[in-house]
């Protein structure tokens, strides 16, 4: 179909900007301005009562690292383990929904999304009750001599990682499902026709074709998991505190805004670097 020439030309000049402007405006006001404020705040000195002034105090970043470096390492380790666990759980699930579920497909997808109908906080609190020291899960595992930290589940790093895995699992399942579902079954049949056993067909064809979903799913899990503090708050001990917990405490309890801002900025930059390295490594642009 061809549009009248003059009209298409006139439209194409200004139209994209008109369409972009609400979104751009929103981002400037609610993303760029707070971000710049936060960055500036990290370089200010003073206190909550007297107010803060910009003194370009770069020293705060090294101070922050000395005090809270291990929190960063813990945040990223927990997020990494939770992402790997979520991938291991989600891949077979997404595969089954995409290829084997038949008429149950839609129901299963609704079930994957169902947890979103309750709030994140409520679900995490529910896990607190489930994993409680005197709960039946803990007592059953204890009687089976399941190896546990100090004989308990709640307030352990294990519980925090389980919570992170559970909470971000749908973000892993959905992109995996979307990319698996898009695979033309005839391509897999072609592999089988060309002497590939089922396991080889999976390794050589299905899995490579699902890589965009793997990349999207791991990012959508890792990024929020690294910044999360709810799971560590409710399911972990003081030894399991993540960066998010420290930011929370510095902003709302200690009122030390500069160090909280420095923590936030460092977290942001660290995730940005990790993610860009990962995307470059995964080479998603190669995959159609």
């Amino acid at each position: 179909m061809e549009l009248p020439k003059g009209r298409a030309r006139r439209g194409s000049r200004s139209l994209p900007y008109v369409l972009l402007s609400p979104g751009m405006l929103w981002l400037v006001i609610f993303f760029l301005v707070p971000m710049a404020t936060l960055a500036a705040l990290s370089l200010q000195t003073g206190d909550y009562e007297q107010g803060f002034t910009l003194t370009w105090n770069w020293h705060i970043y090294s101070e922050m690292w000395t005090r809270y470096g291990h929190h960063f390492i813990r945040s990223f380790s927990y997020a990494f383990v939770a992402t790997v666990a979520a991938l291991v759980i989600a891949y077979p699930l997404a595969y089954a929904i995409a290829f084997k579920a038949g008429r149950w497909k839609n129901l299963l997808l609704v079930l994957v999304i169902a947890p979103f109908f309750t709030s994140f906080l409520v679900r995490t609190l529910a896990w607190q009750a489930i994993l409680a020291d005197n709960g039946w899960v803990t007592s059953t595992l204890r009687s089976l001599h399941f190896p546990m930290q100090d004989g308990r589940l709640l307030n352990t790093s294990f519980a925090v990682i389980c919570g992170l895995t559970y909470n971000f699992l749908p973000f892993m399942v959905l992109p995996l499902y979307a990319s698996l579902e898009r695979i033309d079954p005839r391509v897999v049949e072609a592999a089988s026709d060309l002497y590939a056993r089922p396991i080889t067909a999976f390794r050589r064809v299905t899995f490579p074709l699902s890589l965009p979903g793997v990349v999207a799913g791991t990012l959508l899990t890792f990024i929020p998991a690294a910044g999360d503090y709810v799971n560590a708050t409710f399911l972990g001990s003081p030894q399991d505190q993540m960066v998010g917990n420290v930011v929370d405490k510095q902003f709302l309890v200690s009122n030390d805004y500069p160090i909280a801002s420095a923590l936030s900025m460092t977290m942001l930059v660290a995730i940005l670097i990790l993610v860009s390295l990962y995307i470059r490594r995964a080479g998603t642009e190669e995959i159609v």
Binding site: D184, R186, V187, E189, A190, A191, S192, D193, L194, Y195, A196, R197, T200, A201, R204, V205, P208, L209, E286, I287, V288
Partner: protein
């Protein structure tokens, strides 16, 4: 057992092969022998079971009952990846994440062949795509993708190569070119090709033997010439080319001919060309065998059949003129006249005689719909 390349090929035999999908029977007790080294076409409309048959041979679909033999081997229960059979899929099904070279080498590598370069390069030569090895399938045109799909299957020198509507996605000109190319490659490599298509012209151009399928069964099997000249069922007469079919009664015999009555008019037909068992027959003649003679001209030729009608449409198509002629009893018959230059051109409304050699007349069993097999819409794919 692993398939061995270049193993002595045997005939492909299907014995009472049946496939149900729930209550629907896709393939109905089909028995068929496809000789080694032949170019065989399974021709039929969408949903006739031809693709299901092909998929069962490939091992991608499990038969409900019946056996499949390759030479003396019963391969019915063998997995697809263990059969010495390769497929060119309808939409090619090239691996989008691999380049052309790796696509073609896929089968060899799965069978543990380490040094594939020479063979892949030779295959690229065969399909005339030298230097395309590093491209991605998405960077190729439809015709090029089709040839890569062919190369990817051929490189394994399967005992049987299955082609599932391989030219369906190509435009007419490219399709013609690829038909000739496929035929050439088949003659060169000497493998058994089983080609599934709904395009009768494509089947006739390429195949040595055609099996016309309808409702999960084979209607008729034979060479293209045999099928066209001697259709044995109404479906074949209508599906393969066009036919003029009229209901008639056998009223007597005269030497080697049968005497027929069509709405009070007398026709004759060689007894040998009658496939009907009773006295009721559908009598037929191909439209290009019929001559259209203006009313009033002498048509009293011995050994010819004559019917009278009124021309209701004449369409000039260049090589031929196609006439639609209405009979007194309301049926429309078709006449295709070659435009050789000296004929009288008739226009709509003219009275005319339809004249044809009695030996071009054939008789079919008069059961079922006289229009069975006429395609009302142009179907693409299955």
């Amino acid at each position: 057992m692993t398939p061995t390349a270049g193993a002595p090929a045997g005939d492909l035999r299907l014995v009472e092969l049946t496939k149900d999908f729930g209550s629907a029977v896709a393939v109905d007790c089909l028995s068929l022998t496809i000789p080694a080294g032949s170019f065989f076409a399974l021709l039929g409309p969408s949903g006739c079971g031809k693709t299901t048959t092909l998929r069962m041979v490939a091992g991608l679909e499990e038969p409900t009952s019946g056996r499949i033999y390759l030479g003396d081997d019963d391969v019915t229960d063998r997995k697809a990846y263990k059969r010495p059979v390769n497929t060119v899929f309808q939409n090619y099904a090239l691996f989008p994440h691999l380049n052309v070279f790796d696509n073609i080498a896929f089968g060899l590598r799965r069978r543990g062949v380490k040094d594939v370069k020479a063979q892949v390069d030779r295959m690229l030569d065969v399909v005339e795509l030298q230097g395309f090895g590093v491209r991605r399938p998405s960077q190729l045109s439809g015709g090029q993708q089709q040839r890569i799909a062919l190369a990817r299957a051929l490189i394994n020198t399967p005992q049987v190569l299955l082609l599932d509507e391989p030219l369906g996605a190509l435009d007419l000109k490219l399709r013609r070119q690829m038909q000739l190319e496929l035929k050439r490659i088949q003659t060169d490599v000497g493998l058994t090709f089983v080609h599934v298509t709904h395009d009768q012209e494509e089947a006739m151009t390429m195949a040595d033997t055609i099996a016309v399928m309808n409702n999960g069964k084979i209607e008729q099997l034979g060479s293209p010439v045999d099928l066209y000249e001697n259709p044995s069922t109404v479906f074949v007469a209508n599906f393969l080319g066009q036919s003029n079919l009229v209901a008639a009664q056998i009223v007597g015999t005269q030497g080697a001919d049968l005497l027929l009555d069509v709405q009070g008019r007398k026709l004759t037909m060689p007894a040998a060309r009658n496939c009907a068992t009773g006295d009721s027959v559908y009598v037929g003649v191909r439209p290009e065998k019929v001559r259209l003679v203006p009313a009033g001209a002498s048509v009293d030729l011995p050994g010819h059949n004559v019917l009278d009608g009124v021309v209701i449409d004449a369409s000039y198509t260049g090589v031929t003129t196609q006439y639609v002629v209405r009979m007194a009893w309301g049926q429309d018959l078709m006449v295709i006249a070659a435009n050789v230059g000296n004929e009288v051109r008739l226009t709509a409304g003219a009275n005319a005689h339809l004249v044809w050699d009695a030996s071009d007349t054939f008789g079919l069993e008069a059961t079922g719909d006289i229009a069975e097999g006429i395609e009302t819409i142009d179907e693409a794919g299955s």
